[in-house]
């Protein structure tokens, strides 16, 4: 069983600062962490491997600071990792990102199962997992909450949907995007940390694979983030104090007017 997990670095949500001018996130590489939702994909893969054997490969696209995150994944028990890092990849949208990741996966790895988190906590699109499935032309099940059974060729999974759970049977190779309830991520062990420390994580560039250059990075991205707005939260409430009971109806009228002026009543 060959399992591949694309993971991503995101800003640590507890340290996020927004640029008040542009509304975009000020990214500080030191404060980047592994997308918390990717941990569930890692845990799912590790449990799968413990039951059925196999190998787990982690792949990420991003700056060299992502190497730290890849080592964390190795410390948890994943077998190998590589980083796609090149100026040409920068600024990619979900279309270009899934193209780049899927091309690297197709050209360098064999894969039975590709696992991803439900979405990344920064962009919140949830599109890269399905994008990879589309580029590789393999089936996908999204929002997977449980792996029900596996017979060596097909998986039966439970998808979390609005009405409850939907059971889906899906043949390998396939992509699964998993939700939080699938498994609680483990802590890495000291042995794992030491093993990860000793391992070399190769960096692959645009020359490492035969990419179509016009599909890469910002240039290859059909979509653009035009503007990000931060909603202004204002709480201009009104308190009407009443000292004497006889003033109560007057106060109610005052309050009603306030609501009507704001189209709230």
């Amino acid at each position: 069983m060959q399992i591949v997990i694309p993971i991503k670095q995101v800003p640590d949500t507890s340290k996020v600062k927004l640029d008040p001018e542009s509304g975009t996130i000020i990214r500080n590489p030191a404060d980047a962490v592994m997308n918390p939702l990717d941990l569930y994909a890692l845990e799912t893969a590790l449990r799968f491997k413990e039951t059925y054997g196999g190998k787990i490969t982690i792949v990420s696209m991003g700056p060299s600071s992502a190497l730290r995150m890849l080592k964390e994944a190795l410390a948890m028990g994943c077998d190998e990792a590589f980083l796609l890092s090149d100026k040409a990849f920068a600024g990619a949208d979900t279309w270009a990102t899934s193209y780049t990741l899927s091309t690297a996966i197709r050209q360098s790895l064999s894969y039975d199962l590709i696992l991803t988190g439900e979405r990344a906590t920064d962009g919140d699109t949830g599109q890269v997992g399905p994008g990879i499935a589309a580029w590789l032309d393999i089936p996908i099940a999204t929002y997977v909450a449980r792996i029900v059974s596996f017979d060596g060729k097909r998986l039966e999974v439970a998808r979390l949907i609005e009405e409850g759970y939907q059971r889906v049977s899906i043949p390998l190779p396939c992509v699964l995007t998993v939700v939080k309830e699938i498994a609680i991520p483990r802590l890495p062990t000291l042995k794992g940390i030491l093993r990860a420390r000793a391992s070399e994580i190769p960096i692959r560039t645009k020359e490492s694979f035969s990419f179509r250059p016009e599909y890469l990075g910002l240039k290859g991205s059909p979509t653009r983030v035009v503007k990000i707005d931060t909603p202004q939260i204002t709480r201009h409430g009104k308190t009407v104090w009443v000292k004497n009971p006889e003033d109560l109806s007057k106060a109610a009228v005052e309050f009603l007017n306030f609501l009507q002026q704001r189209n709230l009543y």
């Binding site: 507890s14 962490v33 483990r186 802590l187 890495p188 000291l190 940390i193 420390r197």
Partner: protein, 470 residues
């Protein structure tokens, strides 16, 4: 004090503080009738709560209290664990919660001057923005105040490396029990000018005056930290490693011990799934520093030692989420036990760190002897353990009180034999007064009484706490 006297002093307090500064409504007073000790057992309603906003107001309140001979009880956040802020003789609670401002952040001297009602966590957050760190840092960090920390000389989870509150208090403004304001200490690293009265006040549980302001020492912010969660087969195995870690070269910020019962109760309370199933006890060890690589090297050094000392498994938490996950389990043990069984005695014994391994089998013996559970957790690296006597649900209250009393006496005797004391960081208050007076050296007790009498001739400042003076 009769009703008329009370009405008179309240009238004068209202003139001084305004109507919003004096509360007498029983519903509002209820919150000030207890701390984090068992409210039913130790709680007592105050006659009033007052909220001064300046040192001068505190002085005037104390002078009035002397004039009318009304007990006054200083109060921070009420998160104490020995009943120190409970008005157990009634009287007036002086809440410092409206004196919560940062007065000065003096980065040239690496100090902050704060009002005593400032929440410790707020101070930590403010100085953090300047790359600074306030290290006198107790565990109830979300609520407790600097003034309360000073009154108890609070400890907490980082004392091995950083020490306790007292180390970071360079100066205090004190309103004495007779109502005079005085600064003790200052923005000084060294000061042997006369008696060290500042240190005398720190940890005096509000019996020697009301601290209104403090000069706190700040240090450079440790920017990297990481935790180990180490599993051992038995509590004895885990605790025996503690003195070895302490003498191994790396100084961790914390070595926290949790027996299986403690971690299981907390995990169930939090719906958390740490891998403790096969372990009899766990150590939570934290290292910090300013260089991430050095922190990782230290972590590996300590982790290796734990493995060679028979650890079942050594887990590592280097990212914020995982660190928060395991500390959350540690921090919630006391709360979890309250849900499990609200009747208990949370103890705070402290022994020399090297004697810690001897303590665990003694606790197990006591547990068997009295037929009660004694979960044990705490700051093993400081020799400070929160052994907790938990009432069996089937036991009636009368029997429990006898069992508790007898078991505590034995426990305290064992601790004293090891060169330890009955409280490391929670204080004596009213909860441990009886035992303290029995076990303390009589000469020491007389010195304390003489001091209290000299400072507080009318015995109005938190009277009846720590010891009975008369």
């Amino acid at each position: 004090m009769n009703r008329t006297q009370l009405q008179n002093i309240l009238e004068q307090l209202r003139i001084l503080l305004g109507p919003s500064g004096v509360w007498v409504d029983p519903e509002k007073l209820e919150a000030y009738s207890h701390d984090e000790t068992e409210a039913k057992r130790y709680g007592h309603m105050p006659d009033a709560v007052v909220f001064p906003q300046t040192t001068d107001e505190v002085c005037r309140i104390v002078k009035l209290a002397n004039q009318y001979r009304v007990p006054i009880v200083p109060r921070g956040a009420g998160s104490g664990l020995s009943g120190g802020a409970i008005p157990h003789q009634g009287g007036i609670v002086v809440s410092l919660e409206r004196m919560n401002k940062l007065i000065e952040l003096d980065t040239a001297n690496m100090v902050a001057v704060v009002e005593a009602g400032m929440v410790t966590n707020d101070l930590a957050r403010i100085v953090l923005e300047h790359g600074l760190f306030y290290a006198g840092y107790p565990m109830s960090l979300e609520t407790c105040t600097i003034g309360g920390n000073i009154a108890e000389n609070a400890g907490g989870g980082k004392a091995i490396k950083y020490g306790v509150t007292g180390r970071y208090i360079l100066g205090i403004e004190l309103v004495t029990p007779t109502g005079e304001a005085v600064w003790l200490g200052g923005k000084l690293s060294k000061d042997v000018t006369g008696y060290d009265l500042k240190s005398l006040v720190i940890g005096s549980e509000g019996t020697l005056g009301i601290v209104t302001k403090a000069i706190v020492k700040l240090i450079g912010l440790p920017t990297a930290r990481a935790d180990l969660l180490v599993l051992y087969k038995s509590p004895q195995d885990a605790i025996e490693v503690v003195p070895k870690i302490l003498t191994h070269g790396v100084v961790p910020t914390s070595i926290e011990f949790m027996d299986r019962l403690s971690i299981q109760t907390s995990c169930r309370y939090l719906n958390e799934t740490l891998p403790y199933e096969n372990a009899g006890a766990l150590l939570l060890i934290e290292v910090d520093g300013t260089n991430p690589e050095q922190v990782e090297t230290d972590l590996i050094t300590v982790g290796d030692l734990c493995e060679t000392q028979g650890a079942l498994e050594v887990y590592v938490a280097q990212d914020k989420n995982n660190m928060e996950r395991i500390w959350n389990v540690r921090r919630n043990i006391a709360e979890a036990f309250k849900v499990y069984c609200p009747i208990q005695s949370l103890e705070d014994i402290v022994v020399p760190p090297s004697r810690i391994p001897e303590l665990i089998p003694e606790l197990e013996t006591l547990s068997r002897q009295y037929g009660i559970q004694i979960p044990c957790y705490g700051h093993a690296g400081d020799g400070n353990l929160h052994a907790t006597l938990v009432k069996e649900p089937s036991m009636d209250l009368e029997t429990w009180k006898e069992v508790e009393d007898s078991c505590l006496r034995k426990l305290y005797t064992i601790v004293a034999r090891m060169g330890g004391k009955i409280s490391g960081e929670h204080g004596i208050g009213i909860k441990r007064k009886k035992y303290f007076q029995e076990i303390v050296n009589p000469v020491e007790l007389e010195l304390m009484k003489a001091l209290k009498k000299a400072w507080d001739p009318n015995n109005i400042m938190n009277p009846g706490k720590v010891m009975d003076v008369y």
